[in-house]
Symmetry: C2
Subunit: 347 residues, 2 copies
């Protein structure tokens, strides 16, 4: 067992605090990673505050991890000491169910092992990336291309893949009109990726406050959803809407913006049930869908795509002692567009 | 103008009663049809009772119409006197919008002209098939193959196409698991068509009351949704669920039955908003969609498919003076599976 420095939540209400956690001994197929940077995802905050269900405290969160391989197990073939690697939202899956066999282990029916807060095979609770080191089985470790600035690479492992996956699955590309709802951590990546895929990109944001940013990031159009005229003007327009917003919104109104056979995909996860009129789906044969991160294969594809297209998240680098302030700023939507922890400050 | 016999609603609460209505003079591209049979659709009842919005009374409903061509306009090329023909839910569309140009005029953005209750080009309100004759522009008249028994053909024009369209669009066929929710007018057609397409078909009905029928119609499996074990047993199973039920149901529970990339399609139209947890869509990348009738091209395809596969609705033939009783029985789910009016009884 390795004892390593970390930042952990001890309850739903206390600030996160420095601590030490245990990492398992390096098994034959494991990789030991010295973490360099860890992104702060809104999910981290939802989790530690108990918004999504009971939590076994203390818990170290963080599932946007990049670092360097410092040791590998005897049977590891895909990574070497010194490699730049990444770890995202999951660190294992059952490998036996239909979805795992289809290479879509993010939808593992046995329940995949999440990077934090999951019961691991040895019965311990997985601990995330706000830490100096992590041990992960090689198949769930990604290669981070040199072309991507290291500290900016971390948020690709969640915000990047969570938006890339539905954009790729629903065929965003030339000739397609894609709307991105919300210009936060996920939204700003959706804009960059959809633009790089060749789609015509529209941001739908509450106000025009970030309009200049949105256009700079690659959006072709920018509309305020607080203006009712937006919904009239854009009725029946989009082939694909990526909704990154976790807050409750008027589904019927957003669905009315979809063109024939258009799909609105939620990657934001409101905890409460949203009311939906089926009539809103009849026109244009519309669909409302959900998408959850992406497979390991697709995550590697996304990293390579970002390297090829010079895409990286816009980040604000912080030290570990700024995590609690960063949480408050995320909740106040006061971050452009992702906080990344320099985990050297945990050493 | 032609004055023809019909049965009409005069208010949301009065019984339907015999009357006469006007049909327009036969224009150069119009077809005059002597109606032989008209199906009773649940939509007719929703409409005349004002469930779906205000109605301009008196109104003759009915959008499952078959009959014989008795006169054609000078420029008509696709139909001849004596042809067996059908008319479904729409009798015209704008022909100019993106959806009409794409051959999907059921989603006409200009608003298509429904068979009853729509404002027609001449400003009159369209009147439906509970009548002896109707005048329709040739492009919205279907050919009814000789292989389909005439009186049973009528319900294909709504119940048939409404279920065929989503089954075809979402690729029901060999290797696909399809569930049909509700075994009524639409549901029994969905079972027959999905079975003929080669899918493995499961009926999800409130009780096992119609199980024998369901299996006879082509279902491979039959489950009662009143039994909570059904939802555990069938979790993550279906590629496609066709929901024919207009009543409010627990969307989250039904969505949990979808396998990877599965879609639940509503063809039933509950008037009230249904609560939906987005989390129910995340697992298996599920979709919830709507589908509305089908295009004219697809309706002809469906009629030809039914002729080829010996598919016809199960009907109960009634005379016009039984319409009001039939409405009560439809509302009590006491029909196997579609009432068809012998319109000769209106003469």
């Amino acid at each position: 067992m390795l004892t390593v420095n970390a930042y952990a939540a001890t309850s739903a209400t206390e600030p996160l605090a420095p601590t030490t956690i245990q990492r398992r001994d390096i098994g034959p197929r494991d990789v030991l990673i010295e973490i360099a940077y860890a992104g702060i995802c809104h999910s981290d905050i939802h989790t530690v505050r108990g918004d999504w269900g009971p939590v076994q405290y203390p818990l170290t969160v963080g599932h946007e991890i990049v670092g360097t391989v410092t040791e590998v197990g005897a049977e590891v073939t895909s990574h070497q000491v010194g490699d730049r690697v990444g770890v995202g939202c999951m660190v294992n899956s059952c490998r036996e169910c239909a979805n795992c066999r289809a290479g879509e282990e993010q939808y593992c029916l046995g329940g995949n092992t999440l990077t934090y807060g999951s019961v691991d095979r040895d019965g311990t609770i997985t601990q995330g990336g706000y830490s100096t080191h992590v041990v992960v089985v090689e198949d769930f470790v990604l290669k981070v291309p040199e072309a991507i600035p290291f500290q900016a690479a971390a948020p690709l492992l969640c915000a990047g893949i969570t938006t890339y996956s539905p954009l790729a699955h629903w065929n965003a590309g030339p000739g397609k009109k894609v709307a991105v709802v919300g210009l936060g951590g996920l939204g700003h990546m959706a804009v960059k990726i959809a633009h790089a895929m060749g789609a015509e990109v529209t941001v739908l944001s509450q106000s025009l406050k970030k309009q200049e940013d949105g256009l700079r990031l690659g959006a072709d159009h920018y509309y305020a959803t607080s203006d009712a005229a937006t919904f009239e003007q854009l009725a029946n327009t989009f082939d694909l809407i990526i909704n990154t917003v976790s807050a409750e919104l008027d589904l019927d109104a957003y669905l009315s913006l979809l063109a024939l056979d258009g799909t609105m995909v939620n990657v934001g996860a409101p905890a409460q049930a949203l009311p939906l009129h089926v009539f809103a789906l009849f026109g244009n044969r519309r669909s409302f869908a959900g998408s959850s991160i992406g497979s390991i294969r697709e995550t590697q594809e996304m990293l390579d795509f970002c390297a090829e297209h010079d895409i990286a998240p816009e980040i604000e680098l912080i030290s570990a002692d700024q995590i609690n302030d960063a949480y408050e700023r995320v909740l106040a939507s006061d971050v452009r567009y992702r906080f990344v922890i320099d985990t050297a400050t945990l050493a």
